[in-house]
């Protein structure tokens, strides 16, 4: 039985050749492609590369605003304190804590959502088995065409990667 394979991992020395390879793979019809870069590259076009974080954080912020105000409204009602005849629901005094809790809730939920979306923490991943991959966090750009891609392991994938001046092309085990 053949050993299970995660995909074909190619290393690139420059951002330009990396982008070129990615574009050509997209044109050829590759869909299960992973890309790894040492810094965020804005122009990377990958299927499914969008983020719902803004919406999530907006909702979290609204929940924090409501919750924060409710906390103060409820507590001052639960233990009313008459200071100079001011109303129990003295809402202007509740604004600072409401704002603070809005920001805190939005930030905490945003970070947790980021971990969920990115699937982190995940300490092991097949691409780490390639010793060259250490440079993905330093000065090399990597593309991994996954084994479940319809074009895999056709010669066309390899040719596109070679044509874009990949430094190395290796299969990584799953």
């Amino acid at each position: 039985m053949k050993a299970r394979v995660h995909g074909l991992l190619a290393a690139f020395a420059t951002e330009v050749s990396f982008r070129e390879a990615l574009r050509d793979l997209g044109k050829a019809g590759c869909v299960r492609v992973e890309a790894y870069t040492p810094y965020p590259v804005e122009s990377v076009v990958l299927p499914g590369a969008t983020t719902p974080l803004a919406g999530i954080m907006l909702l979290a912020g609204l929940a924090g605003t409501g919750g924060g105000f409710f906390l103060q409204w409820f507590a001052t009602r639960n233990y009313p304190l008459n200071v100079g005849g001011r109303p129990v629901n003295s809402w202007p005094a509740f604004v600072p804590i409401t704002v603070e809790l809005m920001i805190l809730t939005s930030a905490v939920i945003g970070v947790l959502a980021f971990f969920c979306l990115a699937g982190l923490p995940r300490l092991h991943h097949p691409v780490f088995s390639d010793p060259r991959f250490k440079r993905a966090s330093q000065d090399r750009f990597f593309i991994c065409v996954r084994a479940d891609d319809p074009l895999y392991p056709g010669g066309s994938v390899r040719r596109i990667l070679t044509d874009a001046h990949a430094e190395s092309i290796d299969e990584v085990p799953a």
């Binding site: 890309a35 990958l46 974080l53 930030a107 982190l120 966090s137």
Partner: protein, 457 residues
């Protein structure tokens, strides 16, 4: 952030990056500081001196917990002494780091890349120092949890209408948001540290901290979005935090505190003191660790300009404070200002004027601004000036209120000074630990700057 980072101006010494830097060279320069620990003599000397001060701080805290706040010089009418001045000073320094980092990110200023990590770390450490003072200045620190709203059998809740409770929420929210902002930015750099570390133990430790970050392009999209959104949340939070600190004073009816200028005046003061602290830290570190290729003359020049600008906002605030007191026709308000300048604490007032108003004016000259020694001295003086300013606000307002029968004087004791010095020690010790174990400059962002520069060519 969708626009590529580009240097503002290019020219031999106007650059934000020394010529000849590559992805590999910036990664090596920055990660070698924690991994290879160069200049151990500097590090150990600094750390041991700071550590000795931390021991002094622990002694002072143990003593204040044993005997109570009476060991300090505080008494009625001056019930707020060094502890509050120190708290406001530290939280001011702490406010600026995140603000500098977040606002420069939102305004697409590429010069933040070399200073943001250090500024954020400075924030976190300063918030620790500030938080310490809020704890130890409580008469009964064991009841600190009473500030947290929880449904207890006592049926009591915190006083949500009090700025002191707003402050508790503001500082804790700020500490947490700053920590998350810093960590989200640090995550990819921890992965670089993992991949560059020589030993298995270090690789595992950094690997754990990096949560297995692998630079996946899809992750970058989430991370970049989160980072910008956190910056967008952190920047207004800074304004909220220091405004609330201003409210702590302004809500009281005491002349010299009861003023609507206080919240914005405090925010400006925070930025001013924070910028000066960033300069105070960066100038020696840049020299010792030979980071001139990454933190260039242009960075220092820009920071000096920000320092001077915020200094002018301070001058405007001082002017408004005095002008309002004069035009209000209120004799108590007028008296506070006259008493500050010629009363028993006049010395402090004039030190404040010299440090915060006169010293930054040397930075008008571009020759002096580019002189690292002059800039360092000015930054140091502003740090001193900002501490004295908080002392003047706290003490001179309290020591002469409405009735001469309730006037008094405040004299700091040994324990006051020990706690202040100890908190400075704690700040330096934590900063040195940060420098020893974590990358002090964001490798990710500098790499992006290198890439943008290559694209320009």
């Amino acid at each position: 952030m969708n626009t590529p980072l580009k240097p503002l101006r290019s020219g031999p010494d106007e650059a934000l990056l020394a010529p000849g830097q590559t992805l590999e060279s910036v990664t090596r320069t920055i990660s070698d500081i924690p991994l290879r620990h160069p200049y151990p003599r500097f590090w150990w000397t600094g750390f041991l001196v700071a550590f000795a001060l931390v021991m002094l701080l622990l002694t002072a805290i143990a003593w204040v917990f044993t005997r109570g706040v009476g060991i300090w010089g505080v008494n009625v009418p001056i019930a707020w002494g060094f502890a509050i001045a120190n708290f406001v000073w530290w939280i001011g320094i702490g406010n600026a780091g995140t603000f500098i980092s977040a606002s420069l990110l939102l305004m697409h200023q590429p010069w933040r890349t070399s200073i943001n990590r250090l500024a954020e770390a400075m924030t976190l450490i300063a918030v620790v120092c500030a938080g310490l003072f809020t704890l130890i200045h409580l008469g009964r620190p064991e009841f600190v949890y009473w500030l947290v709203p929880y449904p207890g059998t006592t049926g009591l809740w915190p006083q949500f209408r009090s700025p002191l409770d707003w402050d508790f929420f503001a500082v804790s929210a700020y500490g947490l948001v700053s920590l998350m902002f810093w960590y989200v930015g640090l995550l990819p750099d921890l992965a670089t540290m993992r991949d560059r570390s020589g030993t298995r133990f270090k690789a595992r430790l950094y690997g754990l901290l990096s949560l297995g970050w692998r630079g996946d392009a899809r992750h970058w999209i989430h991370q970049q979005k989160l980072y910008v959104l956190l910056a967008g949340l952190a920047a207004p939070l800074v304004v909220v935090v220091h405004s609330v600190v201003g409210f702590d004073f302004a809500v009281a009816i005491l002349p010299g505190w009861h003023s609507t200028i206080f919240p914005p005046y405090f925010v400006a003061g925070a930025l001013f003191s924070g910028m000066s602290m960033v300069l105070t830290l960066i100038i020696p570190l840049r020299a010792v660790y030979k980071l001139q290729g990454l933190i260039t003359a242009r960075h220092l020049d820009l920071m000096a300009k920000v320092l001077m600008t915020t200094g002018w906002i301070m001058i405007y605030s001082y002017f408004c404070d005095g002008f309002n007191a004069w035009r209000s026709g209120n004799i108590f308000d007028r008296f506070v200002d006259v008493n500050r300048a010629i009363g028993p604490y006049a010395g402090y007032f004039w030190v404040l004027m010299a440090c915060n108003v006169i010293a930054p004016q040397f930075l008008w000259s571009s020759r002096l601004r580019r002189n690292v020694g002059v800039l360092f001295v000015v930054a140091l003086l502003v740090n001193v000036g900002m501490w004295v300013e908080r002392f003047v606000i706290v003490v001179t307002s309290l020591h002469r209120d409405f009735l001469p029968s309730s006037w008094g004087m405040y004299h700091a004791t040994f324990w006051d000074y020990a706690t202040l010095a100890g908190s400075v020690g704690l700040f330096i010790a934590l900063l040195f630990l940060f420098l020893r174990y974590l990358p002090a400059i964001s490798m990710t962002e500098v790499r992006r700057l290198v890439a943008a520069k290559e694209e320009d060519r």
